[in-house]
């Protein structure tokens, strides 16, 4: 059952060294900047949580958000589809130096693996990546005359996501294309931590328009005027 947390720090106290952490967002849209930076601050102050596996479509841009986590040295491995950005230096330098791991997953497969994790589907077949080096070592099978690659579910210890509105029971809505991976990650993590721009009473979100039902949400913290990663970067944030 979802609970409201009084601070970013308290909402994040479930994250420990070595955990797998899903982080919502595609580019800057949906990136939970305040949650991420509170986690970076904790790492800088205490040395923990480090050695994290971070799951996101990208691998950081500039020096904010996931890039700040990478610069801080708390990320051991990225699972993503597209570790490029307008300024991918944080990841690229460490990757080429062999200091950070990379599991490259086609974007649709990444989304489906996360959904599968949340939906109790341990494996599924997809045409994506068949015949490519991404498929090497994975079981393959023919269905109806076409070849497919078996992919496994992807789960995480914690998901950090950004919502537009949350009610006290954990029901969420998102803002525009900031939705992207967040509803899936909320399903696939043991503990889902949400920063919401607005927390309302149960019943204030029409049951017809709930995107993430409260059953998938554990911790909510209100961040009334959240930073937008892309806007930060274009504003020259370092």
């Amino acid at each position: 059952m979802a609970r409201i947390y009084p601070s970013l720090e308290s909402a994040l106290d479930c994250i420990e060294d070595g955990m797998a952490v899903m982080i919502g967002g595609f580019g800057g849209a949906g990136a939970p900047i305040e949650l991420i930076h509170a986690l970076v601050d904790r790492f800088k102050a205490t040395g923990s949580p480090g050695n994290l596996t971070v799951i996101n479509n990208n691998a950081g841009n500039g020096a904010v958000g996931i890039a700040a986590m990478i610069y801080a040295g708390m990320v051991a491995k990225m699972v993503c589809s597209f570790p490029r950005s307008s300024d991918p230096k944080a990841f690229t330098d460490r990757y080429l130096a062999g200091e950070i791991g990379l599991e490259l997953v086609p974007q649709g497969t990444l989304a489906e693996r996360i959904r599968a994790g949340g939906a109790g589907i341990p494996a599924f077949y997809t045409p994506s990546s068949f015949g490519t080096e991404i498929a090497e070592g994975k079981p393959q099978a023919e269905f109806d005359g076409r070849m497919y690659v078996q992919e496994r579910w992807l789960k995480a210890d914690v998901a950090l996501i950004k919502a537009e509105t949350a009610d006290r029971k954990g029901n969420l809505t998102y803002r525009k294309a900031a939705r992207n991976f967040s509803p899936l990650m909320a399903m696939a993590a043991k503990i889902t931590v949400v920063q919401a721009s607005r927390i309302v009473e149960p019943g204030e979100i029409d049951p017809e328009i709930v995107v993430t039902p409260g059953i998938f949400v554990n911790r909510i913290v209100e961040v009334a005027n959240p930073a937008q990663e892309e806007a930060l970067l274009r504003g020259g944030a370092k």
């Binding site: 939906a119 109790g120 029971k169 029901n171 399903m187 009473e201 049951p207 709930v210 039902p213 059953i215």
Partner: protein, 223 residues
Amino acid sequence: MAKKLSNAQIAWRAAQDLPDDSYVNLGIGFPEMIAKFKPEGREVVYHTENGILDFGEAPPAGDEDWDLINAGKKAVTLNPGASFFHHADSFAMVRGGHLDVAVLGAYEVAENGDLANWSTGPGSVPAVGGAMDLVHGARQIWVVTDHTTKDGKPKLLKKCRLPLTGVGCVTTVYTSLAVIDIRGGRFVLREKLASMSLDELQALTEATLVADGTVKDLIVPEI
């Protein structure tokens, strides 16, 4: 023989174990009755397979909206904080392990946790609904049932004889005579009617009841 519990009393007893802050699916029919007996102050959100979370009681007769029904096709109402979703999302909740408890009826339960509750075998129309998904999804699977069949034969067996719904899935059985947990492939007796001896209860149970000295009286109110 001791006076056995009514279905309402079995439902009442199961309801006392509903965890606080939990998501629960009550199977259609008898298990639905549990909602009536939820202890005051305990926060339970009910899930129904057909795409509602946090539905409430039946509306008054005449006020039904037949687009607002539960899996048993009974009219329900919504609590504040309810949500609608499609069937694949609904069973993602089930299969993905997001429910704390699912409660089902049973034809037979075996001591290893096997459940048979969907088919009485050839000659009838089989109907499985969501049971096969629920038994492998929720963290706890409770069964509410009479302790024996109508003609007095055991329903708690060494091995199920009817077609299975799920393998090794049941965690607790609330019967008309006892509360029994399934642990390590055994029926572990938690409570029994005080008016009944362990031997009497065992005689109505095919598999061995493990009674380790902590068996309590099964006490329920008149309902």
